[in-house]
């Protein structure tokens, strides 16, 4: 076998092995999307009921709560960025990071300091490499988050927002995550969780044509709101984590699908080249034989004379 042909054969082998791996990853991601989507759907009843309850207290009582009232001049905001633990998911993490950068710039232009909280190893690595300050970070569960994870994330955030701004607390709470729209579409979005903009919530419920009844609060509207809002934040974070997980799997599936397709194309063009090299080798051998034979024939014809 010629040297050229051998090189092509080796490359085809390597690409075939890669293709097998990406194909397997694609199929794993595809099966996990379904599971993740199911989890998003399962968490929906709790989230909707909780939102209803928050709306009911907020609109049905005049209770003033630090978590619902906007500060006149907010000076510090916390941003929770949700990225993935692992790569090979196309632009998934970098899109979320970019969205966080945009939000950060916007907040800075409004004169607010930004405290960053990060979920996922990719985000931690990005901030670590640039030596930026990260208040807190969590890793290890982005592909399959549990409610307890959302709880552990929410705890320091709620603590920060309840502290006075002068003592290192924050006035606002934003979250950046990748919204799962469909198998093909996932958008990195930012969202203000707190202070709760009650207008939005109230608007949503009136749009649905629901009239909220006058509730009797047990023990009191303030106490209910006190207990309700942390749960609301947790549930919002949980929902964001689940959507982000579904988006991560979808992004990974897409990235691995295009990697598999590219590997297929590469194998095809490499085998064409290998075929041409083999043919060239054969042609050369034949012309060598023919040349040798005719030279031999010429030589014998000469000696006969």
């Amino acid at each position: 076998m010629g040297a050229q042909l051998r090189v092509y054969k080796r490359r085809i082998q390597a690409v075939t092995a890669t293709k097998k791996i990406t194909k397997a990853m694609e199929m794993i991601a595809a099966s996990r999307i379904v599971k993740a989507q199911r989890k998003v759907a399962a968490s929906k009843p709790y989230a909707t009921e909780l939102t209803r309850a928050v709306t009911a207290v907020a609109t049905g009582s005049n209770a003033k709560h630090p978590l619902t009232t906007e500060v006149e001049t907010p000076t510090r905001a916390a941003v929770l960025l949700v990225t993935s633990d692992r790569g090979l998911a196309g632009g998934y993490s970098s899109n979320a990071i970019k969205a966080a950068e945009r939000l950060r710039e916007r907040l800075a232009s409004e004169g607010k300091e930004v405290d960053t909280y990060i979920v996922g190893r990719k985000g931690v690595a990005y901030y670590g490499f640039r030596e930026r300050k990260v208040e807190d970070s969590w890793t290890g569960f982005t592909d399959n988050p549990a409610y307890s994870d959302a709880k552990s994330i929410a705890a320091p955030l709620i603590e920060a927002i309840q502290k006075e701004t002068a003592e290192g607390g924050v006035d606002e709470l934003h979250i950046v995550f990748t919204e799962f729209v469909s198998m093909m579409t996932q958008n990195a979005v930012d969202d203000r969780m707190l202070p709760l903009s009650l207008d939005d919530v109230a608007e949503e419920s009136t749009r649905k044509g629901e009239i909220l009844p006058l509730f009797d609060f047990e023990p009191s509207a303030e106490d209910v709101l006190d207990a309700l809002l942390p749960r609301y934040v947790e549930s919002r974070i949980y929902n964001a984590l689940l959507q982000a997980a579904a988006s991560e799997h979808a992004a990974r599936r897409r990235a691995m699908k295009s990697a598999t397709d590219n590997a297929g194309d590469l194998i095809k063009s490499l085998s064409r080249l290998a075929n041409a090299a083999r043919q060239a080798e054969i042609t050369q051998e034949i012309s060598e034989i023919v040349g040798g034979a005719s030279a031999l024939a010429d030589a014998t014809a000469g000696s006969d004379k």
């Binding site: 709790y46 009921e49 209803r52 509730f215 023990p219």
Partner: protein, 124 residues
């Protein structure tokens, strides 16, 4: 009208039970409260404890609820809890083991959780 109320018992990550009922008894921070159809709209904070639901078929559903909220309006009652388990789902031996472990570790939260589970099973 046969007096009924629609109950949704949801945990953070799943819907635990839903159906029609005639009476729901739950423990709020200010005491036990019983809700029947036609009750005034109510929103309360739940204590950890068993919740009793009398279904319209005459049966009884007991669930262990670990904190959460009760909200009632228009004959629709929702029980929201971070963790909620039906009494039938609770593994008694495991809960007892958890209680022993929590006692020896002096883990108050875990002890309370295990205790609530066992109480829910006891009512069953």
């Amino acid at each position: 009208m046969a007096a009924e109320l629609h109950v949704e018992l949801v945990a953070a990550d799943r819907s635990v039970w839903s159906g029609e009922a005639t009476l729901v008894v739950a423990r709020t921070t200010s005491g036990d409260i019983g809700v029947m159809p036609g009750h005034q709209p109510l929103l309360g904070v739940l204590e950890s404890g068993p919740v009793t639901i009398r279904t319209s078929e005459g049966g009884t559903v007991i669930a262990a609820v670990h904190g959460g909220f009760i909200s009632f309006a228009d004959d629709k009652l929702s029980l929201l809890a971070e963790i909620a388990e039906l009494a039938d789902e609770i593994d008694v031996e495991r809960a007892e083991r958890a209680l022993e472990l929590a006692k020896s570790d002096a883990d108050a939260a875990a002890q309370r959780r295990a205790d609530v589970r066992l109480r829910a099973v006891a009512v069953r």
